[in-house]
């Protein structure tokens, strides 16, 4: 018992370190990548190719003055970044990076866990918006909830066909199923598209990044945050991106499974697929606009949810009729 | 052409006209100014392009232009070409406003676009427009003193400083160039406060 706990703790620690490292470098990738889309160079001054830029950024951010707005609700103002950070980090625990044992917590209902974690992470966002005691963050917070109401149902509905086909809520087993039968992106292309669009909203990336729309809300919910608290939000926000991409790779692209009969190396293949989605999101970020939040909600309820429901019914019919299960 | 129409109207009403550089200036009397403006609007001058305030305080005597009062507000009316039957006529009615009673009627009810420019004239010349919906200072801070585009408002240029206390005072430098003053003279005192080295 104690031994297993210890192993889990070590795994979690390694994962957290890896994620924080990934976070640090995803800022670099994000900035360099966006810069390349925009025919410029991006950060290249600190270290070779600007590789030390994340460290410089972190040092700078931490030594900035920590400001608390006079109108702020002190307790929640302090709690909000912590919540956002924690839940964003927690979601990764059930994503398998390799066969048996290469996962921090092999929960039998891992999909539900991820779902719960991503929902609870919203608390951090809108509490920040509310606790800042300022109008721009408040509007950012309201928009984030409005978005949540929009995408969460479509997101859930899009996972259901996958769960139904794999017959399990365990992510590891979903990957194993895909290893045997082929990837879900083949069987479940509509579900994949719906899930991808909805998870863009969940990661609050373009075109659904209105909760922190810089142009009108300055920075949305974290306008009034500075120093380490801001860093916590920044990490949380990018962790959503990291976790979201890893999750979609796991659910629809076979996770850690090596494609095309290539040798199986833990972590590597998930990383490759993950990077694919990171790039895809970046690419969309560089190419598209931001929707208005009411349009996004209308789209989610009017297009995504009905489509997901119809597709779910089709899949259910197929499974019940004795297809694969 | 509406321009000819306006000219005929002015001749009929006895409004002084002046044509120069192809521009038709009409000098409206202050008392009936709004009536004439309304007539122009009905004539089809649907667009108010500008409201221009001028302070003729030290306008030199002896030119062909005579200015009965200190202030003038010049309106630029256009019959907008490309909109309905607009033909592109432009007229420049003006009204002289005495220094003692610097107020005149607002034309915002005829042309809503007069809102900002009338506020600007109010701000920079201190001419009050009666009937303006929102007459506040627009370009200057609300607590600013004076009306800077009046000719008696000081310019407030700061001297340019050079080494060893040399400086150029713009106003006297300008005057010196025109032989009105001795030009490059004056104070040659030490350094600015707090300056090192």
């Amino acid at each position: 018992m104690i031994g297993a706990l210890f192993v889990t703790a070590v795994k979690a620690l390694v994962l957290i370190l890896a994620l924080l490292f990934a976070f640090a470098y995803i800022t670099w990738i994000m900035r360099r990548g966006l810069a390349r889309f925009q025919v410029r160079l991006g950060p290249n001054r600190v270290g070779p190719f600007g590789l030390l830029q994340p460290i410089a950024d972190a040092v700078k951010a931490i030594f900035k003055e920590d400001i608390t707005v006079a109108q702020a609700d002190r307790l929640l103002y302090w709690l909000a970044p912590l919540l956002a950070f924690t839940f964003a980090l927690a979601a990764f625990a059930v994503i398998p990076v390799g066969p048996d044992g290469w996962v921090v917590a092999n929960l039998d209902m891992g999909v539900l866990y991820v779902f719960a974690a991503s929902e609870l992470a919203i608390y951090g966002v809108f509490l920040a918006g509310w606790a800042s005691g300022s109008k721009y963050p408040l509007m950012g917070g309201l928009r984030s909830i409005a978005a949540l109401v929009g995408y969460e149902l479509a997101l859930g509905m899009a996972i259901l066909p996958v769960v139904l086909m794999a017959g399990t809520l365990n992510l590891q087993e979903i990957v194993e199923w895909q290893k045997q039968h082929g990837y879900f992106i083949v069987y479940q292309l509509p579900a994949f598209l719906i899930y991808f669009i909805a998870s863009l909203a969940e990661m609050s990336r373009t075109p659904f990044d209105f909760a922190e729309a810089e142009q009108e809300l300055v920075a949305g919910f974290h306008t009034e945050y500075s120093s380490t608290k801001f860093v916590a939000f920044y990490i949380a926000e990018l962790l959503h991106w990291i976790v979201g991409s890893a999750l979609i790779a796991t659910l629809f692209l076979g996770g850690w499974d090596a494609p095309f009969g290539l040798p199986e190396i833990p972590v590597l293949w998930l990383f490759v697929k993950w990077a694919l989605f990171i790039f895809l999101v970046l690419w969309i970020w560089a190419s598209w606009f931001r929707t208005r939040y009411d349009q996004m909600i209308r789209f989610a309820w009017g297009v995504l949810l009905p489509a997901a429901t119809v597709w779910f019914l089709i899949t259910a019919y197929y499974v019940v009729k004795g297809g694969m299960a | 052409m509406r321009r000819d129409q306006a000219k005929a109207y002015a001749e009929e009403k006895g409004i002084p006209i002046r044509e120069e550089h192809g521009m038709l200036h009409l000098v409206l009397p202050l008392s009936e100014f709004k009536i004439h403006m309304r007539a122009f609007k009905e004539m089809g001058f649907n667009y108010l392009a500008d409201v221009i305030g001028v302070d003729y305080l030290d306008y030199p005597e002896g030119t062909s232009w005579q200015h009965p009062e200190r202030f003038a507000v010049i309106y630029e009316l256009v019959s907008m070409p490309g909109f309905r039957d607009g033909d592109g006529s432009r007229i420049y009615p003006r009204v002289y406003v005495p220094e003692k009673k610097p107020r005149l009627a607002s034309v915002t009810d005829l042309w809503p676009s007069a809102n900002f420019p009338e506020r600007e004239v109010y701000d920079l010349f201190g001419l009050a427009f009666e009937g303006h919906p929102d007459l506040r200072r627009i370009l200057l801070p609300e607590d600013a003193e004076g009306h800077p585009l009046r000719k008696d408002h000081p310019l407030g240029e700061t001297p340019t400083l050079f080494n060893d206390g040399r400086y150029i005072d713009p106003a006297s430098f300008r005057a010196g160039l025109r032989g009105k003053d001795k030009g490059l003279t004056g104070w040659r005192g030490g350094r600015r406060k707090g300056e090192r080295r």
Partner: protein, 170 residues
Amino acid sequence: MSLVDLFLGALLLLTGFLAVRLKNAVHAALALAANFILVGVVYFLLEARFLGWIQIIVYAGAIMVLFVFVIMLLYAARAEVGADPLPGLKPLAAAVGVVGFLALAYAFAGVKAPLAAKAASAALSGGTAEALGPVIWQTWLYAVLLVAALLLVATVAAVTILRPGEGGRR
């Protein structure tokens, strides 16, 4: 009854108490959200794991978020200000609460569990989705359908109540 149970019970009571006592509506809502998450955790301990997740996702993730959204939307955080028109209601409410608790406690005290803990646990098989599924879709099928219909009606009702362009700007 283990230490964990005691701890969770105490936390549940504390958050519940805060939820009905805190002046600031957002704080109260947060306390309630914490209470709901704790209830979800208790469900895990009581061999109802699927229910635990659903509790967290629906109650803490959706319902409380809606509450907080409405509070923020209406700027109603500091709702209970001004003089209380019915000042005598608070002690009465407390009394009703105490009496209710005593009555329920008395009723529960008389309950005797028919099964041994082990057997009950085996019957529940952890309360996973697989275990729960047949029950829902067989025993309670009509109830599920009714609830589904109710959900649909509720959605329609909510949308209708807030339909734009009726009796106001929106």
